[in-house]
């Protein structure tokens, strides 16, 4: 537990020391949003709003996860190997990735409301779907990011490995998004939110079990 907190703090300190990577990510999200704003001419219907939000979110999340093992790619893996358990490393990375994604989404959400409006009626359902969706996405992407880093850090491979695994969650999220525009549909969203939470639990358990095999060389 102490090791996990330490690892997360180390990641934050490294991130703050080298802010270029973080700002690159922020700029990536902002510019893709602005491209979307221009492409849609500033007017989107409800279905388009949710679709655009999650397309930008997905690509942003892949970019974020791509950097997550960047520091460890070289000698640091070997250094950590002597200090901490691999399970601690993967849990720390998953928490860190989820925190970064949620922070970025605070920005993305405000820019989205500024440029595309706010058609959501069920803010609580939207918030729950957003947090669970981002958590699930970052859990899957942490493990695929580790695989991609270990196989040479090819960015295409990262997208190829993770998109099909994220598709199920995106399908559930798009169903939740469709419900957030309705007034009295909160009870319909509960089983979908449960399914998202289930995906989170399964992918977390798998990453915890499988990461030690990825780690050693």
């Amino acid at each position: 537990m102490k090791a996990i907190v330490h690892l997360i703090r180390t990641d934050f300190i490294l991130e703050l020391r080298n802010r270029t990577a973080l700002f690159g990510l922020v700029l990536y999200v902002v510019s893709s949003l602005y491209v979307g704003y221009q492409a849609y001419g500033g007017r989107v219907d409800q279905a388009g709003w949710g679709a655009l939000y999650w397309v930008v979110a997905l690509f942003g999340a892949v970019q974020a996860a791509l950097r997550s093992f960047h520091h460890e790619a070289g000698k640091r893996f070997t250094y950590y190997y002597w200090l901490v358990r691999p399970q601690d490393v993967v849990v720390a990375k998953m928490i860190y990735n989820a925190l970064i994604l949620i922070a970025i989404h605070a920005l993305q959400l405000s820019l989205f409301t500024l440029w595309f409006g706010w058609p959501v009626e069920q803010a609580a359902v939207f918030a729950a779907g957003l947090v669970l969706g981002l958590l699930g996405t970052s859990l899957v992407l942490t493990l695929t990011g580790a695989i991609a880093t270990k196989s040479g850090g090819n960015p295409t491979l990262m997208a190829v490995l993770s998109f099909p695994l994220l598709l199920p969650q995106l399908l559930i999220i798009s169903k939740i998004m469709a419900l957030t525009y309705l007034n009295d549909a909160a009870h319909l969203a509960l089983p979908l939110l449960g399914a998202l939470a289930g995906f989170c639990v399964v992918s977390c358990a798998l990453a915890y079990l499988l990461f030690p095999y990825l780690w050693r060389d």
Partner: protein, 218 residues
């Protein structure tokens, strides 16, 4: 393996003959296309059986890294499974065209198929991009296990949450409900077993060919 392959051939021959000649219920829209059940659904059963074999071999790779043929077996099983997935997709698209009116519809089962095929194509890409054999075996095994479990959760969960045109999902009754009568069962179950045997025979052949090739090169 000898018994497996002869039993497979006999069962599949039986299912082709009785699948085309046997009595089937007369149902609106489905009509004679109901016979495609013997050839379409069996492909998916075989694919799942082979993917499960691939999973077992991937677990073997991680548990005992010295098991020489486990990685080859996991790779081969996934490849043969994708052959059956392609056949299941083609037979399903033809069936969909004649019953639902289009080759492709937005249906949870079809999404599950798309995810499965994309995941295993990604698995082959991953294998292709690592040169070191030990490392490739380990990375591919981790991805295979992760992908298989996520895929099973998806296939198991999502059709229950949404409507589907397929029988057995979202308000549509299952096979047993109205269309699979006892005549059809007598053909369908042997066909499933027969195709699974054929699938494992193909797997065995591929593993042996690859081993011979490796032996020849060394």
């Amino acid at each position: 393996m000898r018994i497996l392959k002869f039993a497979g051939v006999i069962l599949v021959m039986y299912s082709i003959i009785w699948g085309l000649l046997g009595a089937v219920p007369r149902l609106p829209i489905l009509n004679e296309t109901i016979r495609n059940l013997y050839f379409h659904v069996t492909m998916w059963f075989t694919m799942i059986a082979l993917l499960t074999a691939s999973l077992v071999h991937s677990i073997r790779v991680l548990r005992t890294p010295t098991a020489g043929s486990a990685d080859l077996a996991a790779d081969s099983a996934a490849r043969i499974a994708m052959v059956f997935a392609s056949l299941g997709l083609v037979t399903g698209m033809l069936w969909a065209r004649f019953t639902w009116g289009a080759f492709w519809v937005n249906d949870p089962k079809l999404n599950g198929t798309a995810v499965t095929m994309l995941v295993y194509l990604a698995y082959f890409i991953l294998r292709g991009s690592v040169d070191d054999t030990q490392k490739r075996a380990r990375l591919a095994a981790v991805y295979n296990i992760f992908a298989y479990v996520m895929m099973m959760v998806f296939i198991g969960v999502l059709p229950r949450l949404t409507d589907s045109l397929h029988p057995g999902n979202g308000g549509n009754p299952g096979f047993g409900g109205y269309d699979l009568d006892s005549n059809m069962r007598m053909v369908f179950y042997p066909a499933v077993i027969g195709w699974i045997f054929i699938g494992f025979w193909m797997l065995n052949l591929r593993i042996r060919i690859q081993q011979l090739r490796a032996h020849h090169e060394s």
